[in-house]
């Protein structure tokens, strides 16, 4: 990890020293050490380092959003002394993963309302419920969705902070948990100065299953019937084979 980081910073240095040749120096330049997070059999989560440079001193906020999915939020009520899901609300096209990290606490960088307006905070995330809901009820389900996602580690309101090395070079580590959804991720880097957005850059990243697990998953997806039959055959074979050494005992 350390070596990776040093390498990354060297890259930035090279970039930074090479840049002045061109007259228009970049306000903001960021890159990821890795654009593919590969989920293999022993996958327990992964870290990707984001590094970059700013021309002048400022604040950096990094927002990572996973592929959008529909999310159903259910509310339990007590019926005849047991807890039952009684109400459900569907939210369409919700980021399945969201993490935000910043060089200083968000409230010191800019007013909350300004960040919300630009969707640079968990509170500002656009979550629209299906159907007609009273505003306070919609708000209740919305916060429940965020709470639930935070509990499973898929939403991080304050991830690893963005660190500056000097005034221009910055880096942070994006941590993906073991249950990270697969698909295309957007990494947005925002540069702010005096509470105003100066520059933004968007990077992309893919999380996907590779190797054996990917093949199992693809097979189950594309040819469910054959997958089911093979799953049965494998289980039967394993059960039968395993009993052989014990037969005579």
């Amino acid at each position: 990890m350390r070596a990776k980081l040093v390498g990354a910073l060297l890259c930035v240095l090279a970039l930074a020293t090479a840049a002045p040749r061109a007259a228009q120096a970049q306000e903001l330049e960021a890159e990821l050490t890795n654009h593919l997070v590969a989920i293999t059999t022993g996958f327990t989560g992964a870290n990707v380092v984001l590094f970059g440079s700013t021309e002048e001193k400022g604040d950096v906020i990094v927002v990572v959003q996973g592929p959008t999915r529909d999310i159903v939020v259910r509310q339990k009520s007590k019926i005849a002394s047991i807890w039952v899901n009684t109400t459900q609300v569907t939210f369409r096209s919700v980021p399945s993963f969201y993490s935000i990290s910043s060089s200083r606490p968000l409230n010191e960088i800019a007013p909350a309302r300004m960040l919300e307006a630009k969707q640079i905070s968990l509170e500002g995330l656009r979550l629209v419920p299906d159907g007609d809901l009273a505003p306070d009820e919609a708000q209740e389900f919305r916060t429940a969705l965020i709470r639930s996602q935070e509990r499973t580690g898929l939403y991080l309101a304050s991830a690893e902070p963005v660190k500056f090395e000097g005034d221009h070079l910055f880096h942070t580590t994006i941590a993906f948990p073991a249950n990270v959804p697969t698909g295309d991720f957007l990494v947005q880097v925002f540069l702010l100065r005096n509470s105003a957005l100066v520059k933004a850059q968007t990077l992309t990243l893919t999380v996907s299953q590779v190797g054996f697990d990917a093949r199992v998953h693809d097979f189950a997806d594309h040819d469910a019937l054959a997958y089911g039959i093979i799953a049965v055959a494998l289980a039967a074979l394993a059960g039968w084979l395993a009993s052989l050494p014990f037969r005579n005992a």
Partner: protein, 306 residues
């Protein structure tokens, strides 16, 4: 060491899975039951999504029951004719069960339905077994108790479509075993159990089959119904995690062999009383959980994830 389960979409400690398979296998070896009724709740308890737990447990059952079924077949302890009629019902029942399961998922009631079914079935079964085994233990102490009548006529014998089952020496309506198979097929699909705990007593007391052919015929039915459930769940709900199944099997097979040996040291009635207590314990635990206020009244799931 963590192992990533591709269909469940999460990592679990491989030792936990092996241990779980081993414990369930051990218990099934001791008591001669499939152990699905313990496996599914335990899988849900360690965080496997209920839909994946149910479907993968059915797949695990195929492997766990196949060697037993073959063994009984070799010894000629299988009534194939009865098995066939049971299977016709079983296939229809498991098909209906998988459809029902998909519907329950859609309306968000899978967990509730699975828990309620477990509480009801295990509760009734545990009490019945406890009464029966206590009586058996008492009877041994007072050997001059009353004997059960060999054959009693009930409404079951009045049903149409009578068939002759030579191996079981029975002349009863085919609707009875087919209906039994149908019911157990639903349980298999919705709860991820083989249903031996329902099937075996029903075969003995309801159908009146000779006890020598009951385990073999029941195991035959379980293997094929579990296989059918696995394929249907894979196609209909996409929830069979083969990596999970095979890991559980690896632990389960060893556990089952150790369990069989341990079981031979215990007496039948005592064994049944122990199993009854175990079954009741699981039922009470699940029933209590239903009434406990959850930490968060809200829960969120990604649509299309297992």
């Amino acid at each position: 060491m963590e192992i990533y389960l591709p269909i469940a979409g999460l990592s679990v400690d491989v030792l936990v899975l092996l241990g779980l398979g081993g414990v369930v296998g051990f218990l099934s070896g001791v008591f001669g039951v499939g152990g699905g009724f313990l496996l599914t709740p335990l899988l849900i308890f360690i965080g496997i999504p209920p839909a994946v737990a149910v479907a993968s447990a059915a797949n695990q059952l195929v492997g766990a029951s196949v060697s037993g079924a073959i063994g009984h077949w070799r010894r000629g302890n299988v009534d194939f004719q009865m098995g066939f009629v049971l299977l016709v019902g079983g296939f229809l029942g498991s098909g209906f069960g998988v459809w029902l399961f998909a519907l329950l998922r859609q309306i968000g009631q899978v967990e509730l339905a699975v828990s309620l079914l477990y509480v009801a079935l295990l509760g009734v079964l545990g009490v019945m077994m406890l009464i029966e085994s206590t009586r058996a233990i008492l009877r041994q102490r007072h050997p001059h108790g009353s004997r059960r009548k060999l054959h009693t006529h009930t409404w079951i014998h009045g049903l149409p479509l009578k068939m002759r089952f030579r191996r079981s020496k029975l002349y009863i309506s085919g609707m009875v075993p087919a209906g039994l198979g149908f019911f157990v097929g639903i349980l298999s699909a919705v709860m991820g159990v083989g249903g031996g705990f329902v099937m075996v007593p029903a075969m003995i007391y309801m159908l009146g089959m000779p006890t020598s052919v009951v385990p073999g015929t029941s195991l035959l039915q379980i293997v094929f119904v579990a296989a059918n459930v696995t394929v249907l769940q894979a196609v209909g709900n996409g929830t069979v995690d083969a990596v999970l199944t095979m890991t559980l099997l690896a632990g389960g097979v060893v556990g089952a062999q150790l369990g069989t040996r341990f079981g031979a040291l215990l007496r039948g009635e005592q064994l049944r009383a122990l199993l009854a207590l175990l079954v009741l314990g699981v039922a009470v635990k699940l029933a209590r959980d239903l009434g406990v206020r959850p930490d968060d009244l809200y829960s969120a799931v990604l649509v299309g994830s297992p």
